[in-house]
Subunit: 245 residues, 2 copies
């Protein structure tokens, strides 16, 4: 039996996945489709974030973890609670009202929004009851509720946070090349970075550790692989207090 829900509080999750092949920062979205009873008219046909109500006996973090697990099977992924959305009209677009009629849903629901950082390759989008699909964050489809706003605010937070914290590595495999790290930064920030300067900067960080391994199965020169050492990073108490406003 399902635990008791808090009817007016939900958690919505912006699942960011980096696709190392297409070098694209993607968001995992769920299809929302509803036709009229005679099936002649399409009432709702768009996408939404994955989310669910908070249970009476769980923390907000637990809700987020549960929501991600239900959709992807994944646990232990990086997550951040970045903002709550509670405008009285946030579920009041015409399509949303139609949709909500079919769901057990409170019209004045406040949602606590999280984002996750993971690798697209870790998610099997077909192995889910829901129709889930990856979209580049720069090319989102039509979105229901206020979910476009939520995604864009998550993206803004990620852009800022990736400059000062080593969360970028959550989007990459444990073993990565310097250029892959650069690809992630470029995708997130939407900028070009000089490879020679970036490489030097990264290699000089003590918490970026060269492995005895190279890429395999690539044409052209295979890249040296590195790992990120959280231990070393933490020990460097890397709050460097550089004021750069």
């Amino acid at each position: 039996m399902e635990p008791e829900k808090i009817l007016n509080i939900s958690v919505d999750c912006v699942v960011f996945g980096f696709d190392i092949n297409t070098k694209s920062l993607n968001v995992l979205l769920i299809k929302r489709f509803l036709a009229s009873e005679n099936k002649e008219e399409i009432l709702v046909d768009d996408y939404v974030l994955t989310g669910y109500h908070v249970y009476k006996e769980e923390t907000l973090d637990e809700t987020a973890t549960r929501v991600l697990k239900e959709l992807t099977g994944l646990t232990n992924q990086y997550k951040k609670q970045f903002k709550a959305f509670g405008n009285p009209d946030r579920l009041m677009n015409p399509k949303d009202i139609i949709w909500i009629k079919n769901e057990a849903f409170h019209l004045r629901t406040t949602t606590i929004a999280y984002y996750f950082l993971l690798k697209t390759e870790d998610v099997d989008v077909n192995n889910s009851k829901k129709q889930a699909k990856w979209f580049p964050v720069t090319n989102l489809p039509e979105l229901g509720f206020d979910h476009k706003k939520i995604i864009l605010e998550a993206y803004e937070d990620l852009k800022i946070k990736c400059l000062s914290e080593p969360i970028i590595f959550k989007l990459l495999p444990d073993k990565f090349s310097i250029n892959e790290v650069q690809d992630v930064y470029q995708s997130i920030l939407g900028i070009e970075i000089d490879n020679r300067n970036f490489r030097r900067k990264l290699i000089n960080k003590k918490y970026i550790i060269a492995l005895d391994e190279k890429q395999v199965g690539v044409s052209k020169k295979p890249a040296q692989l590195y790992m990120f050492s959280k231990d070393i990073y933490d020990k460097m108490f890397s709050k460097n207090y550089l004021i750069s406003m």
Copy 2:
């Protein structure tokens, strides 16, 4: 008549005020006191943040603005929604349960926490129905509910944010000296900064504008006054994308 409340959602406000005289970053707290019926036993005697339930027809931002205004009379102050707190047990300390008996309060309330940045001098702590008092953020009194946690998380957010955004000026008067800016940084970050280097750095920013004015009523050499130009800052699209993880 009071608008209808959402019983299980509140907004709590961490009101940060910088005291330019004592050079202290303070938090505005409200006394919570309850004696037993025979007045012989003190049941609750501590402090809490200012906060209130969200009304059915208002946004979360509006709630925060209202809460600040009710306590201080102030409007148009810098605010940031930084986190929601919704643990099932967050109002379950013995004192909190006693307290809640006397209030119209839902035991499983999720709170959306904001912090405000302003000047202590702008607040008249005596001109309020509630017993409000400033405490240095480094020397907090006993706190009710989970408010200690909320304050510390707000403080952490502020520490990080002040390094990359010019929010520091929200804690200072419109006209300020270089050393006053330094005082704010030192108070927030808990570090010593070399005055000569800091001064050089700040003066070189194009959005720090020297005024035709000096401090008055000080012994010793009066300091040159400056202002912060948000216009210039914004035009410099100062997202400088300096990766400094």
